[in-house]
Symmetry: C2
Subunit: 232 residues, 2 copies
Amino acid sequence: MAKDSSAAKAPGKREEERRRAILRAAIEVFSRKGYQGCRIADVAKEAGVAYGLVYHYFQNKDELLESVFEAGWSWFLARVIEAAGKGNTFDERVESVVGVAFESYRRDPKAVKVLILEVGRSPSGGAVNRGKAFAHVIQLASQLFEEAQRNGELKPDHDPKLCAAMFFGAIEMGLTGFVMGFIDRREDTLLAAQRQVTETFLRGVSPGTQRTLEAAWTSPKSSSKPKLAKRA
Amino acid sequence: MAKDSSAAKAPGKREEERRRAILRAAIEVFSRKGYQGCRIADVAKEAGVAYGLVYHYFQNKDELLESVFEAGWSWFLARVIEAAGKGNTFDERVESVVGVAFESYRRDPKAVKVLILEVGRSPSGGAVNRGKAFAHVIQLASQLFEEAQRNGELKPDHDPKLCAAMFFGAIEMGLTGFVMGFIDRREDTLLAAQRQVTETFLRGVSPGTQRTLEAAWTSPKSSSKPKLAKRA
DNA sequence: GCTCGAGTTGATTCCAGAATCAACCGAGCC
DNA sequence: GGCTCGGTTGATTCTGGAATCAACTCGAGC
């Protein structure tokens, strides 16, 4: 309580590294086994650390997993904020947000996988609410879109919130294609995907052209009777 | 083994109903608590049935959960296939696929929630591979897009697989907006969303207009250094 | 009415794996 | 050298909840 402060060599840097190692290991195991399959023992082994030490650094399993998510997400969020403020035009901003997402995936696919697999899953009771984190980006992006709308860079009759949702949806699924291995992860395919996502979205959303598609809108076709549960 | 066949009154219809009830209860609990929070005891209680009975109808927890997913997904898949074959033009088909998705949500939001929260979030090890199921729709949609491409209804330089991924991504996230409560679930908002998703996607993907956006493509901006794990 | 067996029950068993904790370092300090 | 004290260890304990199973219910057939 009155030791480091100045001298010595490591003002707690060592512990910091340990913590990192554990987090990193958690990401690894997590991305392999998923939330429920992620055992503390595995994390400890992966990190090359004793079982008990995990509990020295983290209150419990939930806090650990939460930290994994938190760390990844807050980092991503920061990047998105930065990117969204960078370009001058709407197009540029959208472009750089997409860039951030793909770049993240390039650098650390495992971490992105964890985020992708876990975002959206919010067992309302358990752990922290990922929904909240998620809501945050959507909120953020909405602002971007609202502004664009004011500047006439976005169709005025679109709901910004929904635009935001679709935007990240397109990005997420695009990446999911890679995460799941539908598309092999090569620099050229990645680049093409990044480009395609940006282009498609911008084209889809800009007030430029309207390809008349006015069919029987107002009361969509809809199909027949849905309902779940069938089989036996 | 030699009883029903013809006479009597119920050739096992009773059991069928029980099974249904349990499945239905599972969907309920599942959508409330998520995969890992879904306890057999809860399902049994929800179904108004004894704990043990669940095991009479299902081998084990995994099989139950798998059935939940399977039932929902196969139903959805069938609808999509049907919808994709319905319209004559590409636009109409896309429109009706979107319609199927939204209609499903209207009818059974709980079930859709389960699918949305669970599709793609597959702990590669655990349970069945949702990835496979997921791959299936993507595959399916790809065909639709490939055909459209041959007919010049879709930009020729786009990857159909990626288009498919983006397509479902946009739909999924659009619905997620409702599932998570960002947008309140009213008929008008739903309708508007459905419309917007369709329109945006079609506009984004059709060869009609190209809003030049050629910036420094080929080497995307990218931001700075990524990497996960920070905080302390 | 009695028998048989499928459907049904819930207390009991069993175990994976989370969380605990007492003992064990090893580096500074007297 | 002895002492302190935080980081570190892993065997031990504890627990939630999955899976089992012996007993009960009830309708159909004799």
